[in-house]
């Protein structure tokens, strides 16, 4: 029986049972009282009288009793379970947020409290595990830098065709380490609830462009800043700069030599990067952004975790990362206050 899986189903079933047993007992009682026997049932003239008697003394009282009981039972159960539904909705809504989600125990019915407390204890353990995981990632990244420096310096002393490829490989490892550290830090800051400060987006964009221009020019790509309308948003400057830097790095990678990457400070609360690539469809962006959640790290071309990190930084600021493939733009949108 499927209904017995839900509390409402169980209640209906048990109330039906109560009604049935009650009806049988009543039937028995009436039978004894009126000395009716099954023999009389065969008498055609007696049947209507018996049915009348039964309706009056069994069916009506049972219905009068069972209907309000069922309705009140349903109402009581729905009401009692409402806080549980609320709690579940809250946990679902907090999916993008990795830390600090708890069930509110006080609003729950007494019977559900032990369960809620266990869930909270589990969430505590998950948070602790996440913090340890982050610290571990940051430690690993930190510890890898020194051997990687040795490797890179040794490579500088080598000549030949192989060494250039090895240098590129070291560069890719270095990018990955940078991204891991950045990610760990963004999460740690969010967990610590660091308070935001006003960030001048135009000035920040100028800094990032100035910082990245020498390498871009050395690779034969131009980079420029367009517009000065982005204004000021509350946030964490270094994190936003890292997000923009990741977008520009991404743009430089897909832009052919000789072309220009444009950083746009064109609208209030927004920054965008236009590249010379083919444009990124929303579906593809979604896949790249989800990479962290899916732990799908099979990257071949060095795109790495960049966009996923950008999306996470934006989420931490209550903003979002959107793509406009027709304009070949990726845009950071901050909430306007």
């Amino acid at each position: 029986m499927k209904g017995s899986d839900s509390i409402v189903g169980r209640l209906t079933l048990s109330l039906t049972l109560v009604a049935l047993i009650g009806a049988l007992l009543l039937l028995l009682f009436i039978g004894i009282e009126y000395r009716m026997s099954f023999a009389e049932l065969s008498d055609a003239s007696a049947l209507p009288a018996i049915i009348h008697e039964l309706t009056e003394h069994v069916v009506i009282p049972m219905l009068l009793l069972a209907t309000p009981m069922t309705l009140t039972g349903l109402w009581a159960i729905r009401r009692a379970l409402k806080p549980l539904e609320e709690a579940a909705r809250k946990i679902d809504a907090a999916q993008g947020q990795s830390r600090g989600v708890r069930v509110e125990v006080e609003s729950l019915p007494l019977e559900a409290k032990p369960f809620a407390r266990s869930v909270n204890a589990l969430l505590d353990r998950v948070d602790v595990a996440a913090a340890m995981h982050e610290a571990f990632a940051a430690d690993i990244a930190h510890e890898l830098r020194t051997p990687l420096t040795l490797l890179s310096l040794e490579l500088d002393q080598l000549d030949g065709a192989k060494s250039e490829q090895l240098r590129l490989d070291v560069g890719a490892m270095r990018r990955l380490i940078d991204q891991l550290m950045l990610l760990a830090q963004v999460d740690a800051e969010r967990a610590a609830h660091t308070s935001p400060t006003p960030v001048d987006l135009v000035e920040l964009a100028g800094d990032v462009v100035a910082q990245m221009a020498p390498a871009a020019l050395a690779d034969g790509r131009q980079i420029e800043l367009n517009g000065e309308n982005s204004g000021v948003v509350p946030g964490r400057r270094e994190a936003i700069a890292a997000a923009l830097r990741n977008l520009v790095e991404n743009a430089l990678r897909v832009t052919p030599a000789g072309d220009t990457v444009v950083v746009l400070a064109d609208r209030p609360g927004e920054l965008a990067v236009r590249d010379g690539g083919e444009g990124l469809s929303p579906e593809r962006l979604d896949i790249l952004v989800q990479r962290l959640r899916r732990a799908d790290h099979a990257s071949s071309n060095g795109a790495g975790l960049g966009l996923a990190i950008v999306a996470r930084i934006m989420a931490a600021h209550g903003g979002r990362l959107v793509t406009n493939p027709d304009r070949r733009e990726l845009r950071l949108i901050f909430p306007l206050c």
Binding site: L150, Q185, A210, A213
Partner: protein
């Protein structure tokens, strides 16, 4: 030949840095601890300090902050801490530049060149990037040893860009340096000076070294060459 003090506790790393820089014309002394560094600084003059942050006898940043009144020589921090605020903290502590591990000798050398070009006690009077040369005492410029005839502001601009060669110099800081406070700067004035300077450099044979980063500033680079 510029003389460096490399303060780095990893012996192999220190040796590799010294070796790599020796090939590029720097002489490096190595200190494996802050105590060694203090001893070295007491007996010799250095042009630049290259400082690792995690040292056996203390934190490099604290040491730098404590030395700060002494002021010179300029310090470049090498670190494995690549966090968002670490760079800011490093510069606040009095470092002149900040390089996150891993790095290549070329990157390090480029940063050192930029530090040595900075105006200050030990700034070299003759600035040189590729075939462009500028003597800041006589205020004369040349390309391939052929003198370049520059107007006053063109020369000022060239000196500014040479001192920070390889980096973007922001428009505003150029305007601040080239014009007095009471002078009105029209938006196109700087562009006109830049394009005149660029034409003169191009004509003299230093082609494609002065770049415009639109909306941000200008940048003078070493000429492109096959590495």
């Amino acid at each position: 030949m510029a003389r460096l003090l490399v303060i780095e506790d990893n012996e192999r790393l220190a040796a590799l840095i010294a070796e790599g820089l020796a090939g590029l014309g720097y002489r490096s002394d190595i200190a494996h601890s802050l105590a060694d560094a203090d001893a070295a600084l007491a007996v010799a003059a250095f042009d630049v300090i290259v400082l690792d942050l995690g040292l056996p006898d203390g934190d490099g940043l604290d040491w730098l902050r404590a030395r700060q009144p002494a002021g010179e020589p300029p310090a470049l921090i090498l670190t494995a801490r690549g966090g968002l605020e670490d760079r800011v903290n490093g510069l606040d502590a009095g470092a002149d530049d900040y390089l996150v591990k891993p790095f290549s000798v070329e990157e390090l050398a480029a940063r050192l060149r930029a530090l040595l070009r900075r105006p200050g006690r030990r700034a070299e009077p003759v600035l040189k990037v590729g075939s462009i040369k500028y003597d800041s005492t006589s205020r004369s410029a040349s390309v391939d040893d052929r003198p370049l005839d520059l107007a006053r502001r063109e020369a000022d601009l060239l000196e500014l860009l040479l001192r920070r060669a390889g980096q973007v110099v922001r428009r505003r800081s150029i305007e601040d340096a080239l014009y007095r406070l009471d002078e009105a700067v029209t938006p196109n004035a700087l562009e006109a000076i830049v394009s005149r300077l660029r034409r003169k450099l191009d004509d003299a044979g230093a082609v494609g070294q002065l770049h415009t980063v639109r909306g941000v500033g200008y940048l003078l680079r070493e000429p492109d060459q096959a590495r």
